[in-house]
Symmetry: C2
Subunit: 352 residues, 2 copies
């Protein structure tokens, strides 16, 4: 059934068995129509038969060295992908990436070996295996701008998941600006005027985008004073205290996890949501958790994001279908889930 020989099967050995040269075997396998047409059916069949019998498979490393693509897509995650803390973030992306890759017949090379330096993984390190992949997907909340530039300079094909400010970086991201703007307008339409914005302490583009959408709409509405606060996740009680002091009618929270904590503190303080205080969340946990609250929120299309990133990378790799500059920068709409935590404000003075 299987060849008992332990010698590695190569084109040369196939060639010997078929009584042809190695070049012929290669031509049978990947010859362009014009060159391959030179090989008559009879010879071709003989070679293919041997290949079948010996279960020969081309060595991907050799193919690559010879300048061929080999349908391997690299996946680099700035944080370990599976551990529970980050799994929520990565899993839906990977779901989309895997599904689309499977359709395209690509394998995925996860760069788990990237060493952690000053808290983050580094793409470039001695003996990185980047070159084995035809191209690469980059995942992570924040990415190192210097590394991105270097990839661009090196002309290495890659796609970032999430919008990036670095010039020349192809990406597929979620349109947080529009999504947040829409939710902000909804809050304004409901009559809110006293806003509080609890944001993630990060310089990531996705974070900035949300704030941009938020501020733009508030400015249009002529609302000046908004209390902003960075939530570190260290001390929710301090956050809650700051909120009560500011006494807003509506609370915008970027991170779903922060929202849950604050909601709980509000409940404990006897503050009812949304009648006493509306809460709008600018994201969504990937898995509905046990004590799921139907927040009024933004739902980024994570699985789709992953899938579209693969598609874009594929286009970048295919020489005949190269995307234009603008086609390389894709934003997908966020879904706005109306939920149950946004309502008109009460009309009395002090709320909380």
């Amino acid at each position: 059934m299987t060849s008992p020989t332990h010698e590695k099967m190569t084109q040369r050995r196939v060639a010997e068995l078929a009584g042809v040269s190695q070049a012929t075997v290669s031509l049978v396998l990947n010859g362009k129509a014009d060159a391959a047409s030179r090989i008559p059916e009879e010879t071709r069949n003989r070679v293919l038969e041997i290949i079948e019998k010996t279960t020969y498979v081309a060595d991907p490393a050799a193919r690559r060295l010879a300048g061929m693509g080999n349908k391997i897509l690299g996946v680099f995650t700035y944080e370990p992908a599976f551990p529970n803390e980050t799994a929520d973030f990565y899993t839906p992306l990977l779901t989309g990436i895997e599904a689309r890759s499977e359709e395209l017949g690509c394998d995925l090379l996860l760069f788990t070996s990237a060493p952690v330096e000053n808290g983050r993984r580094q793409i470039f390190h001695g003996n990185n295996r980047l070159g084995l992949a035809d191209g690469c997907l980059l995942l992570g909340l924040e990415m190192d701008a210097a590394e991105l530039s270097r990839l661009v300079d090196n002309n290495f094909p890659f796609v970032a998941v999430g919008r990036r400010d670095v010039p020349g970086v192809p990406y597929v991201g979620a349109d947080y600006v529009s999504g947040t703007a829409e939710l902000t307008r909804a809050a304004l339409a409901a009559g809110h005027e006293r806003f509080f914005y609890l944001h993630v302490d990060s310089a990531a583009e996705s974070v900035a985008d949300r704030q941009l959408g938020f501020h733009t709409e508030l400015q249009k509405a002529g609302i000046e004073s908004v209390q902003l606060r960075a939530c570190t996740g260290d001390d929710y009680l301090a956050d809650w205290k700051a909120i009560t002091t500011a006494d807003p009618t509506v609370l915008f929270i970027e991170a779903p996890r922060h929202a849950l904590e604050i909601y709980e503190l509000a409940r404990q303080a006897g503050v009812r949501v949304p009648s006493d205080l509306s809460i709008v969340v600018l994201g969504e946990p990937s898995r509905p958790s046990a004590q799921a609250i139907d927040f009024t929120r933004l739902s980024p299309p994570r699985t789709e994001l992953g899938a579209e990133a693969v598609t874009l990378l594929r286009r970048i790799l295919s020489s005949d279908d190269a995307p234009s500059e603008s086609e390389s920068r894709i934003l997908l709409d966020c879904v706005v889930e109306s939920g149950t935590t946004l309502a008109p404000p009460r009309n009395e003075g002090k709320h909380l």
Copy 2:
């Protein structure tokens, strides 16, 4: 900052810049101590400086072609890994695999391209990229025995996750026999005599092992008649009907999902667990779900399973630390969670 040249950096170019030969560069990078000691500090530093400056990284494909291992571990899943149905099964495994791979400095190659034929993915197909990996991990409830044999015959280094009956297959599995036996003894000790066993309709080794542990203990206890039933997941009502007809005092269920459904049907039928009917589950969902019930159950150490599989594969790959035949077949203990769904049976006749 980055080299503006778009020419690919190679050892030859580094060598030119350093005024040495390509061989010297290679020696500086990977020369064994004895050969490398021939290169004086001064030269070595000059070369390393150029390498630093040019951000040269060795082409992994060329390394591999030149006979070097490249620290890539293949991961083959018999079902797509991330989609929600199977994610519960694979995610904890992948968590362990990723963590251990990261420690070892290995990258992971996910064979997502494996085409689905008659319902299952196939390892061997034209242009499979198996050869790129130093070795391979196999995941899945059931695996194709013919493919396993072929891997063994080809002397391809691999490790299966889960015990396998196929001779010569290295694996790291969970000891379902002992775990199930322990739970069965617990049920016997509680005074149960009327057992009902709802099993998964599968020929997988892990399924057979549970039944072996179960039957062995019952035989020891002299209990003859046990009602077995394959649960397809199609028609839980039919399953429940069969259970009530048999009127057992304790119910063993292999699959956590089936357990949830049956528990719900029992509740609807007014049957109280465990006072009217004890339920023992021979597995565990990887994520605590919303309506979590604290079943008396078996908890396979999935994350550890993944990690240990990587370790075993690593040992198989390292020529100096080759595991013996017996060391290549590892069983990890299942944790027995005592839970709240096993209690002594009521003493009257008809229960359900």
